[in-house]
Protein backbone atom coordinates (compact mmCIF):
# COMPACT_ATOMS: atom_id res chain seq x y z
CA UNK A 1 0.00 0.00 0.00
CA UNK A 2 2.79 2.42 0.78
CA UNK A 3 4.31 1.94 -2.66
CA UNK A 4 1.01 2.78 -4.28
CA UNK A 5 0.70 5.97 -2.24
CA UNK A 6 4.18 7.11 -3.22
CA UNK A 7 3.32 6.73 -6.88
CA UNK A 8 0.14 8.75 -6.46
CA UNK A 9 1.89 11.63 -4.75
CA UNK A 10 4.32 11.96 -7.61
CA UNK A 11 1.85 11.96 -10.48
CA UNK A 12 0.28 15.09 -11.93
CA UNK A 13 -3.30 16.17 -11.18
CA UNK A 14 -4.76 15.16 -14.53
CA UNK A 15 -3.36 11.64 -14.31
CA UNK A 16 -4.60 11.28 -10.72
CA UNK A 17 -7.97 9.95 -11.81
CA UNK A 18 -6.54 7.26 -14.00
CA UNK A 19 -3.86 6.28 -11.51
CA UNK A 20 -6.22 6.13 -8.58
CA UNK A 21 -8.63 3.96 -10.49
CA UNK A 22 -5.91 1.58 -11.53
CA UNK A 23 -4.25 1.49 -8.12
CA UNK A 24 -7.53 0.85 -6.36
CA UNK A 25 -8.39 -1.92 -8.76
CA UNK A 26 -5.07 -3.72 -8.53
CA UNK A 27 -4.97 -3.44 -4.75
CA UNK A 28 -8.52 -4.61 -4.13
CA UNK A 29 -8.92 -7.31 -6.77
CA UNK A 30 -6.73 -10.10 -5.39
CA UNK A 31 -7.86 -9.75 -1.75
CA UNK A 32 -11.54 -9.56 -2.61
CA UNK A 33 -11.45 -12.31 -5.21
CA UNK A 34 -9.76 -14.67 -2.78
CA UNK A 35 -12.30 -13.89 -0.08
CA UNK A 36 -15.22 -14.59 -2.40
CA UNK A 37 -13.62 -17.82 -3.62
CA UNK A 38 -13.19 -19.07 -0.06
CA UNK A 39 -16.79 -18.21 0.73
CA UNK A 40 -18.12 -20.10 -2.26
CA UNK A 41 -16.08 -23.19 -1.35
CA UNK A 42 -17.31 -23.08 2.25
CA UNK A 43 -20.87 -22.71 1.02
CA UNK A 44 -20.58 -25.70 -1.31
CA UNK A 45 -19.22 -27.80 1.53
CA UNK A 46 -22.04 -26.72 3.82
CA UNK A 47 -24.68 -27.45 1.25
CA UNK A 48 -23.43 -30.80 0.00
CA UNK A 49 -21.45 -32.38 2.81
CA UNK A 50 -23.25 -31.51 6.01
CA UNK A 51 -26.50 -33.46 5.53
CA UNK A 52 -24.45 -36.52 4.68
CA UNK A 53 -22.25 -36.28 7.74
CA UNK A 54 -24.77 -35.41 10.45
CA UNK A 55 -27.85 -37.10 11.87
CA UNK A 56 -31.38 -35.97 11.02
CA UNK A 57 -31.72 -34.26 14.37
CA UNK A 58 -28.72 -32.02 13.80
CA UNK A 59 -29.67 -31.38 10.19
CA UNK A 60 -33.01 -30.07 11.40
CA UNK A 61 -31.30 -27.88 13.99
CA UNK A 62 -28.93 -26.46 11.39
CA UNK A 63 -31.89 -25.83 9.08
CA UNK A 64 -33.43 -23.82 11.88
CA UNK A 65 -30.16 -21.95 12.38
CA UNK A 66 -30.09 -21.05 8.70
CA UNK A 67 -33.70 -19.85 8.69
CA UNK A 68 -33.20 -17.73 11.79
CA UNK A 69 -29.99 -16.29 10.39
CA UNK A 70 -32.18 -14.62 7.75
CA UNK A 71 -34.10 -12.95 10.56
CA UNK A 72 -30.98 -11.95 12.45
CA UNK A 73 -29.56 -10.64 9.18
CA UNK A 74 -32.60 -8.44 8.67
CA UNK A 75 -32.31 -7.00 12.15
CA UNK A 76 -28.55 -6.55 11.89
CA UNK A 77 -28.92 -4.57 8.66
CA UNK A 78 -31.66 -2.44 10.20
CA UNK A 79 -29.68 -1.69 13.33
CA UNK A 80 -26.13 -1.67 12.07
CA UNK A 81 -26.55 0.02 8.71
CA UNK A 82 -29.57 2.24 9.13
CA UNK A 83 -29.62 2.70 12.89
CA UNK A 84 -33.25 1.57 13.28
CA UNK A 85 -34.32 -0.75 16.07
CA UNK A 86 -37.23 -3.07 15.43
CA UNK A 87 -38.52 -5.23 18.26
CA UNK A 88 -41.13 -6.91 16.11
CA UNK A 89 -39.16 -9.23 13.83
CA UNK A 90 -40.30 -12.42 15.57
CA UNK A 91 -43.88 -11.28 15.22
CA UNK A 92 -43.28 -10.67 11.51
CA UNK A 93 -41.79 -14.14 11.30
CA UNK A 94 -45.09 -15.46 12.64
CA UNK A 95 -47.02 -13.31 10.17
CA UNK A 96 -44.92 -14.67 7.32
CA UNK A 97 -45.57 -18.19 8.51
CA UNK A 98 -49.28 -17.50 8.76
CA UNK A 99 -49.50 -16.01 5.29
CA UNK A 100 -47.52 -18.87 3.78
CA UNK A 101 -49.72 -21.46 5.44
CA UNK A 102 -52.93 -19.71 4.44
CA UNK A 103 -51.84 -19.41 0.81
CA UNK A 104 -50.39 -22.88 0.81
CA UNK A 105 -53.61 -24.47 2.00
CA UNK A 106 -55.73 -22.27 -0.24
CA UNK A 107 -53.92 -22.96 -3.48
CA UNK A 108 -52.16 -26.24 -2.77
CA UNK A 109 -49.78 -27.51 -5.45
CA UNK A 110 -51.20 -25.02 -7.96
CA UNK A 111 -48.95 -22.40 -6.41
CA UNK A 112 -45.30 -23.30 -7.04
CA UNK A 113 -43.12 -23.07 -3.95
CA UNK A 114 -40.74 -20.34 -5.18
CA UNK A 115 -43.71 -18.15 -6.04
CA UNK A 116 -45.26 -18.81 -2.64
CA UNK A 117 -42.02 -17.75 -0.98
CA UNK A 118 -41.88 -14.50 -2.91
CA UNK A 119 -45.52 -13.62 -2.36
CA UNK A 120 -45.20 -14.31 1.35
CA UNK A 121 -42.20 -12.03 1.48
CA UNK A 122 -44.08 -9.31 -0.37
CA UNK A 123 -47.17 -9.44 1.85
CA UNK A 124 -45.10 -9.51 5.03
CA UNK A 125 -43.13 -6.59 3.67
CA UNK A 126 -46.29 -4.55 3.26
CA UNK A 127 -47.53 -5.41 6.76
CA UNK A 128 -44.17 -4.64 8.36
CA UNK A 129 -43.94 -1.32 6.56
CA UNK A 130 -47.45 -0.35 7.64
CA UNK A 131 -46.55 -1.06 11.26
CA UNK A 132 -43.39 1.00 11.10
CA UNK A 133 -44.82 3.81 9.01
CA UNK A 134 -46.32 5.93 11.79
CA UNK A 135 -43.06 5.96 13.70
CA UNK A 136 -40.60 6.44 10.87
CA UNK A 137 -40.96 10.20 10.91
CA UNK A 138 -40.38 10.37 14.65
CA UNK A 139 -37.28 9.49 16.60
CA UNK A 140 -35.88 5.95 16.68
CA UNK A 141 -37.22 5.38 20.18
CA UNK A 142 -40.81 5.48 18.96
CA UNK A 143 -40.13 2.97 16.22
CA UNK A 144 -38.68 0.57 18.80
CA UNK A 145 -41.70 1.06 21.04
CA UNK A 146 -44.31 0.66 18.34
CA UNK A 147 -42.67 -2.51 17.03
CA UNK A 148 -42.54 -3.89 20.58
CA UNK A 149 -46.25 -3.22 20.97
CA UNK A 150 -46.97 -4.73 17.59
CA UNK A 151 -45.05 -7.83 18.64
CA UNK A 152 -47.15 -8.19 21.78
CA UNK A 153 -50.36 -7.50 19.87
CA UNK A 154 -49.57 -10.05 17.17
CA UNK A 155 -48.70 -12.68 19.79
CA UNK A 156 -52.08 -12.12 21.42
CA UNK A 157 -53.97 -12.20 18.13
CA UNK A 158 -52.12 -15.35 17.14
CA UNK A 159 -53.26 -17.06 20.33
CA UNK A 160 -56.81 -16.39 19.20
CA UNK A 161 -56.56 -17.07 15.47
CA UNK A 162 -54.03 -19.87 15.56
CA UNK A 163 -52.22 -20.99 12.45
CA UNK A 164 -53.99 -22.25 9.31
CA UNK A 165 -54.00 -26.04 9.21
CA UNK A 166 -56.32 -26.73 6.33
CA UNK A 167 -59.51 -25.60 8.00
CA UNK A 168 -62.29 -23.45 6.54
CA UNK A 169 -62.84 -19.72 6.51
CA UNK A 170 -60.47 -16.80 6.34
CA UNK A 171 -58.50 -17.98 9.32
CA UNK A 172 -58.17 -21.41 7.88
CA UNK A 173 -57.85 -23.06 11.24
CA UNK A 174 -59.90 -25.96 12.37
CA UNK A 175 -59.51 -27.27 15.88
CA UNK A 176 -61.12 -30.52 14.79
CA UNK A 177 -58.42 -31.05 12.20
CA UNK A 178 -55.69 -32.82 14.09
CA UNK A 179 -53.13 -32.11 11.37
CA UNK A 180 -50.27 -29.72 12.07
CA UNK A 181 -49.91 -26.29 10.63
CA UNK A 182 -47.23 -27.45 8.22
CA UNK A 183 -46.61 -26.28 4.73
CA UNK A 184 -46.44 -29.02 2.13
CA UNK A 185 -43.06 -29.19 0.42
CA UNK A 186 -42.41 -29.98 -3.20
CA UNK A 187 -40.62 -33.31 -3.85
CA UNK A 188 -37.16 -31.83 -4.28
CA UNK A 189 -37.28 -30.64 -0.66
CA UNK A 190 -39.34 -33.45 0.83
CA UNK A 191 -36.44 -35.03 2.68
CA UNK A 192 -34.69 -33.33 5.56
CA UNK A 193 -31.46 -33.17 3.61
CA UNK A 194 -33.18 -31.75 0.54
CA UNK A 195 -35.03 -29.14 2.58
CA UNK A 196 -31.81 -28.21 4.36
CA UNK A 197 -30.03 -27.61 1.07
CA UNK A 198 -32.81 -25.43 -0.32
CA UNK A 199 -32.91 -23.42 2.90
CA UNK A 200 -29.16 -22.82 2.84
CA UNK A 201 -29.34 -21.65 -0.77
CA UNK A 202 -32.21 -19.28 0.01
CA UNK A 203 -30.29 -17.99 3.01
CA UNK A 204 -27.25 -17.36 0.84
CA UNK A 205 -29.43 -15.46 -1.62
CA UNK A 206 -30.81 -13.32 1.21
CA UNK A 207 -27.29 -12.53 2.37
CA UNK A 208 -26.38 -11.62 -1.19
CA UNK A 209 -29.33 -9.25 -1.45
CA UNK A 210 -28.27 -7.62 1.80
CA UNK A 211 -24.67 -7.26 0.68
CA UNK A 212 -25.68 -5.74 -2.64
CA UNK A 213 -27.86 -3.22 -0.84
CA UNK A 214 -25.20 -2.27 1.68
CA UNK A 215 -22.48 -1.83 -0.92
CA UNK A 216 -24.74 0.10 -3.28
CA UNK A 217 -26.70 3.31 -3.38
CA UNK A 218 -29.02 2.28 -0.54
CA UNK A 219 -26.10 1.45 1.75
CA UNK A 220 -24.52 4.83 1.18
CA UNK A 221 -27.77 6.63 1.86
CA UNK A 222 -28.29 4.53 5.00
CA UNK A 223 -24.79 5.30 6.27
CA UNK A 224 -25.59 8.99 5.92
CA UNK A 225 -28.95 8.61 7.66
CA UNK A 226 -27.36 6.68 10.50
CA UNK A 227 -24.81 9.37 11.18
CA UNK A 228 -26.87 12.48 10.62
CA UNK A 229 -30.28 12.78 9.03
CA UNK A 230 -29.63 16.45 8.39
CA UNK A 231 -26.47 15.67 6.42
CA UNK A 232 -28.39 13.03 4.48
CA UNK A 233 -31.15 15.46 3.54
CA UNK A 234 -28.60 18.08 2.60
CA UNK A 235 -27.08 15.52 0.25
CA UNK A 236 -30.40 14.95 -1.48
CA UNK A 237 -31.37 11.71 0.26
CA UNK A 238 -35.11 11.18 0.73
CA UNK A 239 -34.67 9.99 4.30
CA UNK A 240 -38.22 8.77 4.85
CA UNK A 241 -38.14 6.73 1.67
CA UNK A 242 -34.84 5.06 2.48
CA UNK A 243 -35.92 4.25 6.01
CA UNK A 244 -39.12 2.76 4.62
CA UNK A 245 -37.12 0.77 2.12
CA UNK A 246 -34.87 -0.63 4.86
CA UNK A 247 -37.90 -1.60 6.88
CA UNK A 248 -39.62 -3.13 3.86
CA UNK A 249 -36.49 -5.12 3.02
CA UNK A 250 -36.13 -6.41 6.58
CA UNK A 251 -39.81 -7.40 6.64
CA UNK A 252 -39.52 -9.05 3.22
CA UNK A 253 -36.60 -11.20 4.34
CA UNK A 254 -38.28 -12.10 7.62
CA UNK A 255 -41.44 -13.05 5.74
CA UNK A 256 -39.48 -15.44 3.57
CA UNK A 257 -37.91 -16.92 6.68
CA UNK A 258 -41.42 -17.38 8.04
CA UNK A 259 -42.45 -19.25 4.93
CA UNK A 260 -39.45 -21.56 5.24
CA UNK A 261 -40.18 -22.08 8.91
CA UNK A 262 -43.75 -23.06 8.09
CA UNK A 263 -42.41 -25.77 5.84
CA UNK A 264 -39.93 -27.10 8.38
CA UNK A 265 -40.43 -30.18 10.51
CA UNK A 266 -43.26 -29.85 13.00
CA UNK A 267 -44.72 -26.75 11.42
CA UNK A 268 -45.78 -23.76 13.45
CA UNK A 269 -47.40 -23.51 16.83
CA UNK A 270 -48.68 -20.46 18.65
CA UNK A 271 -46.17 -21.11 21.44
CA UNK A 272 -43.34 -20.63 19.01
CA UNK A 273 -43.48 -16.83 18.89
CA UNK A 274 -43.69 -15.37 22.39
CA UNK A 275 -43.10 -11.65 22.88
CA UNK A 276 -40.01 -12.44 24.91
CA UNK A 277 -38.36 -13.93 21.83
CA UNK A 278 -38.39 -10.55 20.10
CA UNK A 279 -36.24 -9.20 22.91
CA UNK A 280 -34.03 -12.28 22.87
CA UNK A 281 -33.55 -11.77 19.15
CA UNK A 282 -32.41 -8.22 19.78
CA UNK A 283 -29.99 -9.51 22.39
CA UNK A 284 -28.34 -12.13 20.18
CA UNK A 285 -28.09 -9.72 17.26
CA UNK A 286 -26.33 -7.18 19.47
CA UNK A 287 -24.03 -9.85 20.82
CA UNK A 288 -23.29 -11.35 17.42
CA UNK A 289 -22.49 -8.01 15.89
CA UNK A 290 -24.47 -5.61 13.76
CA UNK A 291 -21.78 -4.23 11.49
CA UNK A 292 -20.48 -7.41 9.87
CA UNK A 293 -22.09 -10.12 7.78
CA UNK A 294 -20.74 -12.89 10.00
CA UNK A 295 -22.56 -11.41 12.95
CA UNK A 296 -26.04 -12.65 11.97
CA UNK A 297 -24.71 -16.19 11.68
CA UNK A 298 -23.17 -15.99 15.14
CA UNK A 299 -26.47 -14.60 16.39
CA UNK A 300 -28.48 -17.46 14.89
CA UNK A 301 -26.07 -19.95 16.45
CA UNK A 302 -26.59 -18.30 19.83
CA UNK A 303 -30.32 -18.38 19.34
CA UNK A 304 -30.87 -21.88 18.01
CA UNK A 305 -27.75 -23.99 18.41
CA UNK A 306 -26.45 -23.18 21.87
CA UNK A 307 -29.82 -23.89 23.56
CA UNK A 308 -29.70 -27.38 22.01
CA UNK A 309 -26.28 -27.98 23.54
CA UNK A 310 -27.58 -26.80 26.89
CA UNK A 311 -30.53 -29.13 26.60
CA UNK A 312 -28.23 -32.04 25.85
CA UNK A 313 -26.12 -31.24 28.88
CA UNK A 314 -29.15 -30.86 31.14
CA UNK A 315 -28.66 -27.16 31.88
CA UNK A 316 -31.64 -24.82 32.24
CA UNK A 317 -32.35 -22.50 29.35
CA UNK A 318 -33.05 -19.69 31.80
CA UNK A 319 -29.33 -19.26 32.33
CA UNK A 320 -28.99 -18.36 28.68
CA UNK A 321 -31.76 -15.76 28.99
CA UNK A 322 -29.91 -14.12 31.85
CA UNK A 323 -26.66 -14.21 29.88
CA UNK A 324 -28.37 -12.62 26.89
CA UNK A 325 -29.68 -9.87 29.15
CA UNK A 326 -26.17 -9.25 30.42
CA UNK A 327 -25.00 -9.28 26.81
CA UNK A 328 -27.39 -6.47 25.95
CA UNK A 329 -26.20 -4.40 28.89
CA UNK A 330 -22.61 -5.00 27.93
CA UNK A 331 -23.28 -4.09 24.30
CA UNK A 332 -25.03 -0.88 25.23
CA UNK A 333 -22.38 0.26 27.67
CA UNK A 334 -19.24 -0.76 25.81
CA UNK A 335 -18.86 -2.41 22.45
CA UNK A 336 -21.69 -1.41 20.10
CA UNK A 337 -20.18 -3.40 17.26
CA UNK A 338 -20.74 -6.70 19.01
CA UNK A 339 -18.72 -9.82 19.58
CA UNK A 340 -18.29 -10.68 15.91
CA UNK A 341 -16.17 -7.58 15.46
CA UNK A 342 -14.43 -7.63 18.83
CA UNK A 343 -13.32 -11.25 18.68
CA UNK A 344 -11.77 -11.13 15.20
CA UNK A 345 -10.12 -7.85 16.18
CA UNK A 346 -8.75 -9.43 19.33
CA UNK A 347 -7.68 -12.50 17.38
CA UNK A 348 -5.98 -10.29 14.79
CA UNK A 349 -4.13 -8.44 17.50
CA UNK A 350 -3.15 -11.73 19.02
CA UNK A 351 -2.02 -12.99 15.63
CA UNK A 352 0.08 -9.91 15.04
CA UNK A 353 1.68 -10.21 18.45
CA UNK A 354 2.54 -13.85 17.81
CA UNK A 355 4.00 -13.26 14.34
CA UNK A 356 5.95 -10.34 15.74
CA UNK A 357 7.43 -12.64 18.35
CA UNK A 358 8.17 -15.29 15.74
CA UNK A 359 9.92 -12.78 13.50
CA UNK A 360 12.14 -11.66 16.34
CA UNK A 361 13.17 -15.25 17.00
CA UNK A 362 13.86 -16.15 13.34
CA UNK A 363 15.77 -13.04 12.26
CA UNK A 364 19.04 -12.72 14.11
CA UNK A 365 19.99 -9.06 14.05
CA UNK A 366 17.76 -6.80 11.95
CA UNK A 367 19.57 -4.04 10.04
CA UNK A 368 19.03 -0.52 11.47
CA UNK A 369 17.22 0.68 8.30
CA UNK A 370 14.57 -2.02 8.60
CA UNK A 371 13.74 -1.00 12.13
CA UNK A 372 13.40 2.70 11.26
CA UNK A 373 10.40 1.87 9.04
Amino acid sequence: MKAVKAVDAESSRSALAERTGMAAFTRVAPARAIRWAVLVVVLVVIVLAVPVLLSTYWVQILTSVAIYSIVTLSLAVLMGRVGLVSLGQIALLAVGGWVALRLGFAFGPALPFPLLVLITGAITSVIGTLIGLPALRLSGLYLALITLMAAAAITQVLAATNFPNGGEGFLGHSSANVGNAVLARPDVMASDAGFYRVVVVVTAVMFLIAILHVNGKAGRAWAAIRQSEAAAIAAGVNVTLYKLWAFALASFMTGIAGCLLAASAGGLTTYGFPTQDSITLLAVVLMGGIYSFWGPIVSAVLLKLIPEFLKNWGLPADVLTILFGLGVLQAMTTAPAGLAVQVPKDLANLGRALTGLARKRLVRVPAPEEHAR
Binding site: K217, R220, A224, A231
Partner: protein
Amino acid sequence: MIEITGLTVHFGGVTPLDNVSMVFPAGTCGLIGPNGAGKTTFFNVLSGFVSPAAGSVRAFGTDLLSMANYRRARWGLRRTFQTEQAIEALSVFDNVAMVHEHCAARQSARRQEVLEAIAFVGLDGDPDERVGTLDARDRRLVEIARAVVGEPKVVLLDEPAAGLPEAETKHLSDMIQRIPEQRGALVILVDHDMSLVSACCQVTAVLDFGKLIASGPTADVLRNEHVMRAYLGTDDKV
Protein backbone atom coordinates in the same frame (compact mmCIF):
# COMPACT_ATOMS: atom_id res chain seq x y z
CA MET B 1 -29.37 35.86 -7.31
CA ILE B 2 -31.10 34.89 -4.07
CA GLU B 3 -33.92 37.07 -2.77
CA ILE B 4 -35.14 36.71 0.79
CA THR B 5 -38.34 38.56 1.62
CA GLY B 6 -39.84 39.05 5.07
CA LEU B 7 -38.42 35.82 6.50
CA THR B 8 -39.64 35.17 10.04
CA VAL B 9 -39.05 32.13 12.25
CA HIS B 10 -40.61 31.45 15.66
CA PHE B 11 -39.17 28.83 17.95
CA GLY B 12 -40.97 28.25 21.22
CA GLY B 13 -40.92 31.78 22.53
CA VAL B 14 -37.82 32.97 20.65
CA THR B 15 -37.73 34.72 17.27
CA PRO B 16 -34.42 33.73 15.65
CA LEU B 17 -35.33 35.50 12.42
CA ASP B 18 -37.48 38.61 12.42
CA ASN B 19 -38.84 39.86 9.12
CA VAL B 20 -35.51 39.57 7.36
CA SER B 21 -35.26 40.79 3.79
CA MET B 22 -31.98 40.65 1.91
CA VAL B 23 -30.50 39.94 -1.48
CA PHE B 24 -27.44 37.87 -2.32
CA PRO B 25 -26.51 39.00 -5.84
CA ALA B 26 -23.76 36.73 -7.16
CA GLY B 27 -20.29 35.35 -6.54
CA THR B 28 -19.32 34.86 -2.91
CA CYS B 29 -21.49 36.65 -0.35
CA GLY B 30 -20.85 36.89 3.35
CA LEU B 31 -23.32 36.55 6.20
CA ILE B 32 -22.00 37.57 9.57
CA GLY B 33 -23.28 38.46 13.01
CA PRO B 34 -22.63 37.69 16.65
CA ASN B 35 -23.53 34.30 18.12
CA GLY B 36 -27.24 33.71 18.18
CA ALA B 37 -27.89 36.26 15.45
CA GLY B 38 -29.83 33.75 13.39
CA LYS B 39 -27.28 32.80 10.75
CA THR B 40 -27.50 29.04 11.21
CA THR B 41 -31.28 29.30 11.53
CA PHE B 42 -31.26 31.05 8.20
CA PHE B 43 -29.26 28.21 6.68
CA ASN B 44 -31.65 25.73 8.26
CA VAL B 45 -34.59 27.48 6.62
CA LEU B 46 -32.85 27.26 3.26
CA SER B 47 -32.02 23.59 3.83
CA GLY B 48 -35.59 22.89 4.79
CA PHE B 49 -35.02 21.79 8.38
CA VAL B 50 -37.04 24.66 9.77
CA SER B 51 -40.32 26.03 8.47
CA PRO B 52 -40.60 29.82 8.58
CA ALA B 53 -43.69 31.44 9.99
CA ALA B 54 -43.65 33.93 7.14
CA GLY B 55 -41.58 35.04 4.19
CA SER B 56 -40.22 33.71 0.95
CA VAL B 57 -36.92 32.66 -0.57
CA ARG B 58 -36.42 32.88 -4.31
CA ALA B 59 -33.19 31.52 -5.72
CA PHE B 60 -32.52 32.06 -9.42
CA GLY B 61 -36.24 32.53 -9.92
CA THR B 62 -37.23 29.32 -8.11
CA ASP B 63 -39.34 29.35 -4.95
CA LEU B 64 -37.12 27.29 -2.64
CA LEU B 65 -39.53 26.97 0.26
CA SER B 66 -42.13 25.11 -1.75
CA MET B 67 -39.65 22.31 -2.48
CA ALA B 68 -39.36 19.28 -0.20
CA ASN B 69 -36.11 19.56 1.71
CA TYR B 70 -34.35 16.59 0.14
CA ARG B 71 -35.21 17.86 -3.33
CA ARG B 72 -33.32 21.08 -2.82
CA ALA B 73 -29.96 19.35 -3.06
CA ARG B 74 -31.14 17.86 -6.32
CA TRP B 75 -32.05 21.34 -7.51
CA GLY B 76 -28.56 22.51 -6.65
CA LEU B 77 -28.58 23.68 -3.04
CA ARG B 78 -25.57 22.35 -1.16
CA ARG B 79 -24.41 22.93 2.35
CA THR B 80 -21.71 22.32 4.93
CA PHE B 81 -22.38 22.21 8.67
CA GLN B 82 -20.87 23.93 11.68
CA THR B 83 -19.78 20.59 13.10
CA GLU B 84 -18.58 18.89 9.99
CA GLN B 85 -20.74 16.05 8.78
CA ALA B 86 -18.75 14.02 6.30
CA ILE B 87 -19.97 10.45 6.67
CA GLU B 88 -17.36 8.56 8.68
CA ALA B 89 -18.40 5.06 7.70
CA LEU B 90 -17.94 5.76 3.98
CA SER B 91 -14.83 6.37 1.93
CA VAL B 92 -13.93 9.80 0.58
CA PHE B 93 -15.05 8.72 -2.87
CA ASP B 94 -18.37 7.34 -1.66
CA ASN B 95 -19.04 10.45 0.38
CA VAL B 96 -18.85 12.64 -2.69
CA ALA B 97 -20.37 10.04 -5.03
CA MET B 98 -23.40 9.81 -2.76
CA VAL B 99 -24.26 13.43 -3.34
CA HIS B 100 -23.76 12.99 -7.04
CA GLU B 101 -25.98 9.93 -7.36
CA HIS B 102 -28.86 11.60 -5.54
CA CYS B 103 -28.76 14.65 -7.77
CA ALA B 104 -30.03 14.92 -11.28
CA ALA B 105 -26.58 15.03 -12.90
CA ARG B 106 -25.68 12.44 -15.56
CA GLN B 107 -24.71 9.18 -13.84
CA SER B 108 -22.32 8.10 -16.61
CA ALA B 109 -19.93 10.91 -15.77
CA ARG B 110 -20.10 10.16 -12.06
CA ARG B 111 -16.61 8.80 -11.47
CA GLN B 112 -14.99 11.65 -13.36
CA GLU B 113 -17.01 14.41 -11.70
CA VAL B 114 -16.43 12.97 -8.22
CA LEU B 115 -12.67 12.85 -8.72
CA GLU B 116 -12.83 16.35 -10.15
CA ALA B 117 -14.51 17.64 -6.99
CA ILE B 118 -12.00 15.84 -4.80
CA ALA B 119 -9.14 17.40 -6.77
CA PHE B 120 -10.78 20.83 -6.63
CA VAL B 121 -10.67 20.96 -2.82
CA GLY B 122 -7.10 19.75 -2.82
CA LEU B 123 -7.46 16.30 -1.27
CA ASP B 124 -4.63 14.15 -2.51
CA GLY B 125 -4.82 11.08 -0.34
CA ASP B 126 -6.42 7.79 -1.33
CA PRO B 127 -10.09 8.36 -2.20
CA ASP B 128 -10.97 4.89 -0.95
CA GLU B 129 -9.88 5.68 2.59
CA ARG B 130 -12.65 5.79 5.16
CA VAL B 131 -13.38 9.36 6.22
CA GLY B 132 -13.41 8.20 9.83
CA THR B 133 -9.63 7.76 9.64
CA LEU B 134 -8.94 11.28 8.34
CA ASP B 135 -8.01 14.34 10.36
CA ALA B 136 -10.25 17.38 10.89
CA ARG B 137 -8.83 19.36 7.99
CA ASP B 138 -9.33 16.57 5.46
CA ARG B 139 -12.83 15.85 6.72
CA ARG B 140 -13.73 19.48 6.25
CA LEU B 141 -12.40 19.30 2.70
CA VAL B 142 -14.47 16.17 2.04
CA GLU B 143 -17.54 18.05 3.19
CA ILE B 144 -16.75 20.89 0.82
CA ALA B 145 -16.13 18.44 -2.02
CA ARG B 146 -19.62 17.08 -1.39
CA ALA B 147 -20.90 20.62 -1.68
CA VAL B 148 -19.26 21.42 -5.00
CA VAL B 149 -19.61 18.14 -6.92
CA GLY B 150 -21.72 18.08 -10.06
CA GLU B 151 -23.54 21.29 -10.88
CA PRO B 152 -24.32 23.15 -7.68
CA LYS B 153 -26.31 26.37 -7.88
CA VAL B 154 -26.02 27.60 -4.30
CA VAL B 155 -23.36 26.60 -1.79
CA LEU B 156 -23.91 27.40 1.88
CA LEU B 157 -20.73 27.29 3.95
CA ASP B 158 -21.36 27.35 7.70
CA GLU B 159 -18.15 28.34 9.52
CA PRO B 160 -15.84 26.24 7.33
CA ALA B 161 -12.76 27.68 9.01
CA ALA B 162 -13.85 26.80 12.54
CA GLY B 163 -11.12 24.96 14.36
CA LEU B 164 -8.62 25.14 11.52
CA PRO B 165 -5.14 26.60 11.97
CA GLU B 166 -4.00 29.77 10.10
CA ALA B 167 -2.20 27.94 7.32
CA GLU B 168 -5.31 25.99 6.37
CA THR B 169 -7.46 29.09 6.31
CA LYS B 170 -5.38 30.47 3.44
CA HIS B 171 -5.94 27.31 1.40
CA LEU B 172 -9.65 27.44 2.27
CA SER B 173 -9.87 31.09 1.27
CA ASP B 174 -8.30 30.46 -2.14
CA MET B 175 -10.64 27.57 -2.76
CA ILE B 176 -13.79 29.42 -1.75
CA GLN B 177 -12.94 32.27 -4.07
CA ARG B 178 -12.66 29.84 -6.97
CA ILE B 179 -16.08 28.23 -6.41
CA PRO B 180 -18.32 30.74 -8.22
CA GLU B 181 -16.12 30.83 -11.27
CA GLN B 182 -15.03 27.18 -11.53
CA ARG B 183 -18.11 25.42 -10.13
CA GLY B 184 -20.69 27.96 -11.24
CA ALA B 185 -22.41 28.44 -7.89
CA LEU B 186 -23.38 31.34 -5.69
CA VAL B 187 -21.69 31.00 -2.33
CA ILE B 188 -23.01 32.26 0.99
CA LEU B 189 -20.27 32.18 3.60
CA VAL B 190 -20.95 32.36 7.32
CA ASP B 191 -17.89 32.73 9.49
CA HIS B 192 -16.42 34.61 12.43
CA ASP B 193 -13.03 34.97 10.81
CA MET B 194 -13.29 38.51 9.40
CA SER B 195 -10.14 38.26 7.33
CA LEU B 196 -11.59 35.20 5.59
CA VAL B 197 -14.85 37.01 4.96
CA SER B 198 -13.20 40.15 3.59
CA ALA B 199 -10.86 38.10 1.41
CA CYS B 200 -13.60 35.99 -0.15
CA CYS B 201 -16.79 38.04 -0.17
CA GLN B 202 -17.56 41.02 -2.32
CA VAL B 203 -20.76 41.78 -0.44
CA THR B 204 -21.81 40.92 3.09
CA ALA B 205 -25.02 41.03 5.11
CA VAL B 206 -25.05 41.35 8.88
CA LEU B 207 -27.63 39.84 11.25
CA ASP B 208 -28.10 40.69 14.89
CA PHE B 209 -30.82 39.23 17.10
CA GLY B 210 -32.61 37.98 14.02
CA LYS B 211 -32.70 41.31 12.23
CA LEU B 212 -30.72 42.59 9.29
CA ILE B 213 -28.65 45.53 10.46
CA ALA B 214 -26.37 46.15 7.50
CA SER B 215 -25.57 44.93 4.02
CA GLY B 216 -23.42 45.99 1.12
CA PRO B 217 -19.79 45.87 0.01
CA THR B 218 -17.83 43.94 2.60
CA ALA B 219 -15.30 46.64 3.38
CA ASP B 220 -18.04 49.19 4.11
CA VAL B 221 -20.03 46.76 6.21
CA LEU B 222 -17.07 45.85 8.38
CA ARG B 223 -16.45 49.53 9.10
CA ASN B 224 -20.13 50.14 9.91
CA GLU B 225 -20.73 51.54 13.39
CA HIS B 226 -23.84 49.45 14.04
CA VAL B 227 -22.00 46.28 13.10
CA MET B 228 -19.13 47.01 15.44
CA ARG B 229 -21.54 47.79 18.22
CA ALA B 230 -23.38 44.53 17.64
CA TYR B 231 -20.18 42.54 18.03
CA LEU B 232 -18.58 44.49 20.82
CA GLY B 233 -21.62 45.74 22.64
CA THR B 234 -21.85 49.24 24.12
CA ASP B 235 -22.58 50.73 27.54
CA ASP B 236 -26.12 51.64 26.50
CA LYS B 237 -27.08 48.04 25.80
CA VAL B 238 -28.66 46.25 28.75
